[in-house]
Amino acid sequence: MSGLTIRGLTVSFDGFVAVDGVDLDVPPGDLRFLIGPNGAGKTTLVDAVTGLVKATGSARFGETELLGREVHRIARLGVGRTFQTATVFEELSVLQNLDIAAGSGRSALGLLRRRRGVPDDVARALETIGLTGRLDDLAGTLAHGQKQWLEIGMLLVQDARLLLLDEPVAGMSHEERDATGELLHQIALERTVVVIEHDMDFLRRYARTVTVLHAGKVLSEGTVAEVQADQRVQEVYLGHSTSTEGAA
């Protein structure tokens, strides 16, 4: 297993510095939560690590430098991500979604063949995300929460070793959140997981470690208890904490 090591990561848009010299260490197998007020640079940080926006500094996954590579090359190194609004291929079936996610390593010849049956890894992922019964349904017909599960399933079959999840439980019911939390715990046994989340209740229950971002910088880092006790975090969230909890 590999971890994520970020040094001096900086992203700026036309002079606006969205991420400002962030250092971050996510050890292998960690389940790290990334929190912070709106505009703190959480999503931009994930965008930079996955190659969507240009950044300076360094972001290494294991020993491999990620910055400067193309998006699909980073993905092939085992870095997978989800988006704030679940993005699945709505006009394809659940099975096809997962099969595509599983296949970036396939040869050209393999791509030109038809899929026969359900590949083993896809079947396992279907079971893990509880969508076995829906495999022939169009992904567009899934409920909101199920789409987010499908995205996580796609990361599993993609064999991502580092999962970057952007608000995976937004809009989910309590039951769905609990199930997602358990799933993340299970996934983190074998992989490294980074979660951007606003839901403080969810964070308290499932985070192993927490990093607080504020105005593009790391404000605080540690266990849930340590971060909650941090005076600076309380200042940033003063007056915010109830609203963020309520909003998520």
Binding site: V71, F89, Q96, R113, G117, G130
Partner: protein, 373 residues
């Protein structure tokens, strides 16, 4: 929405029967019921249908609205016509028009390789594919897409026509390459040979159909739809969407090239008016009418539109133009799946629900409790 995605998977038996039926129709029924003139017209329509098959793949499945297929059709057509003109003229001779307009003393260097039939035949398909590869590679790699791509492809068609018209001495200019007499030694004035050309066209169409069917139903076909609907998402799964799109574009170009090559013996002419902006967009309308993302829709649409054009434009040219415009408006705006939507709807009413291949049931592990499935 399965019309737009093409999720339906007919069984092998049905596919086999379908192909057999198609072959029967093209090789036995059509020659039996159509006279020479109409069979020849059908050969022309089937050439247009070949272009449509490729557009169905690139546009219907890949979302690449290519408004310049006429360029590839033309490259294939000119490559074939150049060889046939040289063969008509005889060894060492120059084609008639060059002596007429060009006042050239000898054959331009870029005509010379086309004396060789093998080279010319290969060029009809490979030349369009090469052009599509170069243009597609530079365009897709830099993520020029959607409307930008459509406009660029259309501009290419416009530029090519202006270029051809301007080089009258070596390309025949506005007239194009006309009055083609023979086809690899066979006299095209002979009805028997005309019929043979029809059979060649029909056979090629079936082969192209089989190729596109395989592409659409393969994993590549699923990936192509994924790229069409969410290109950026595909990137994050480790694929390079540029390559996925490039494949569809190059395949479609090759098909248009072959179609152009066969159009020449079937109709006896290739000219700028047949490959410019307007014919290029007419290729697209057939596909839209038939059903852009289906396998057979583009063929049916292309043949139907071409037939309607012949039938109406001679007697009521104005009416045909209005009708053509209205077809575009009505089909694309209100029936984006094309006529295939109607067929699918009719079939859907009596279809049985598909049975999944994996046993349903909640996952055994405790983790999944509470997850609705």
């Amino acid at each position: 929405m399965s019309v737009l995605t093409g999720l339906g998977r007919p069984s092998r038996l049905r596919t086999g029967l379908g192909f057999a039926g198609g072959a029967l129709l093209l090789f036995a029924v059509a020659p039996a019921v159509l006279d020479d003139f109409r069979l020849n017209l059908l050969a022309k329509y089937l050439c247009l249908a070949m272009v449509a098959v490729g557009i169905g793949l690139a546009w219907g499945r890949g979302g690449l609205l290519t408004l310049g297929q006429g360029v590839f059709f033309g490259l294939g057509g000119y490559a074939m016509a150049m060889h046939l003109k040289l063969a008509d003229a005889g060894p060492g001779q120059m084609p008639d028009f060059m002596q007429l307009y060009g006042q050239l003393d000898e054959l331009p260097w870029w005509w010379k390789p086309f004396e060789n039939p093998a080279f010319a035949l290969a060029a009809t398909v490979l030349l369009p594919m090469a052009v599509a590869f170069v243009l597609g590679w530079v365009v897709f790699r830099r993520r020029v897409r959607g409307a930008y791509f459509a406009i660029l492809s259309q501009a290419l068609a416009a530029a090519m026509v202006i270029f051809l018209v301007g080089q009258q001495g070596t390309t025949g200019g506005t007239n194009g390459l006309t009055d083609i007499q023979g086809f690899f030694g066979y006299d095209l004035a002979d009805p028997v040979n005309k019929e043979t050309v029809y059979f060649v066209v029909a056979a090629c169409l079936l082969v192209l159909l089989a190729i596109v069917r395989q592409l659409m139903q393969s994993r590549y076909g699923e990936l192509l739809v994924a790229v069409r609907d969410a290109e950026e998402r595909v990137r994050f799964l480790g694929y390079d969407p540029a390559k996925v799109k490039l494949t569809a574009y190059v395949v479609a170009a090759g098909m248009a090239g072959l179609a152009g090559a066969l159009f020449v013996p079937a109709v006896g002419i290739i000219s700028p008016a047949l490959i410019g902006v307007v014919p290029s967009i007419e290729f697209v309308i057939g596909v839209a009418v038939g059903g852009r993302a289906t396998l057979l829709g583009p063929i049916a649409g292309a043949v139907a539109v071409a037939w309607a054009k012949t039938a109406l434009s001679e007697r009521f040219p104005g009416t045909w133009t209005y009708l053509q415009g209205a077809l575009f408006v009505v089909v694309v705006a209100f029936l984006p799946g094309g006529l295939a939507t109607i067929f699918a709807w009719l079939r859907g009413r009596r279809a049985t629900p598909r049975v999944s291949t994996v046993v349903d049931g909640p996952a055994a592990r405790p983790v999944e409790e509470g997850v609705p499935s």
